[in-house]
Symmetry: C2
């Protein structure tokens, strides 16, 4: 159990884009989790406007000179900012960067991500297209803890979505996204309620 | 479309064990598919008794001297027997052998299998244990065409199954099995109704 039952948990969202999952987290039932901070690596991200209208503190911080990861100094700066604000749980919501360095150490087991497939199927980019190309009949979304590899961390929650015969990447992505909105809030609520164990692959494991 | 609409399709089941999926196929709504033949590689398989009480022709045939595949002569003999009986569709139902040789050539695109996971997650043996060890929250079953590799063929149908916090391999397997019973008959009905295309990974593909 990584959070005490009953305590309020300050949650930060890291995003790069339009922030529809951020918005869903703000509007959803996250239980003891309070969405308290948004950080983006994209000065022009629409999510900044959404944070402002939701009354959530938001900031652009430079990610450094790489395209798909943080510079080490910058990842340290993001991490310090999170800690200064008393953030206890970090939600990735369309952050187009891999987290590997100080943030993963400092927030080990307290960074979560949402992915548009039923992992371990279709990790990485373009999961919906991968699923359609495979000819899958059921896909969905997965909320999972972030570890040092891509989309391999322990699973918190999954939602299934049927594939329709005439689905395109767009129609399928849209249907999955509606489940993502529900799943992400539910997962934050679960984590912040203190019912999950803090180690192992199966955080719900009671006895087996 | 590999089967003409409206025509009766003679279906054989190949099984090694107790034959609960065979029984479900016999009792289920398989549309134009008629379960007409059971072949087993295990003289003592309980499925033989089930075939007899279901009034389905059944036969034990030697699989040859290997443990996980057929001898080439034997696979040829099985294939000839299927052809002699006018079998058009072959359902694997717990057959503990890989099909690689003449049967796969002769019945290319007309052999199907059911697997207790949402493929491509957890192919191969002990899929339910693999899923629990991974800490999955949703698993299920997949009916797919058989190709030369293991559990990689085009998908026909999938059913999702929630994992419960206190699931064991036994309780989860049992819950998946109930969906397998439904899925396998549905898949046979779909194939025999002639609505699926005969090539590519997505047999439902209309326009994308």
């Amino acid at each position: 159990m990584i959070f005490d039952k009953g305590n309020i948990v300050k949650v930060a969202v890291l995003a790069s884009g339009r922030g529809s999952n951020f918005e869903a987290l703000c509007n959803g039932d996250t239980g003891n989790g309070r969405i308290s901070l948004l950080i983006t690596d994209n000065e022009k991200a629409e999510v900044l406007r959404k944070a402002s209208s939701a009354g959530v503190e938001s900031i652009y911080m430079s990610p450094g000179r790489y395209r798909t990861k943080f510079g080490e100094t910058e990842e340290m700066a993001w991490t310090r900012f999170l800690m200064d604000r008393g953030i206890e749980l970090v939600c990735l919501a369309g952050l187009m960067r891999i987290i590997k360095g100080p943030m993963l150490e400092e927030y080990s087991g307290r960074i979560i991500n949402i992915h548009p497939s039923l992992l371990p199927s279709f990790p990485g980019l373009h999961a919906q297209k991968q699923a359609l190309d495979y000819g899958i009949r059921i896909t969905g979304c997965t909320v999972h803890y972030v570890d040092a590899a891509v989309d391999t961390g322990p699973i918190i929650l999954q939602k299934a979505v049927d594939v329709k015969d005439d689905d395109t990447v767009e129609t399928l992505s849209c249907r999955i996204l509606r489940q993502e909105y529900i799943a992400y809030s539910e997962a934050v609520k679960l984590i912040c309620s203190g019912v999950l164990s803090g180690s192992g692959r199966n955080r719900f494991h009671k006895e087996r």
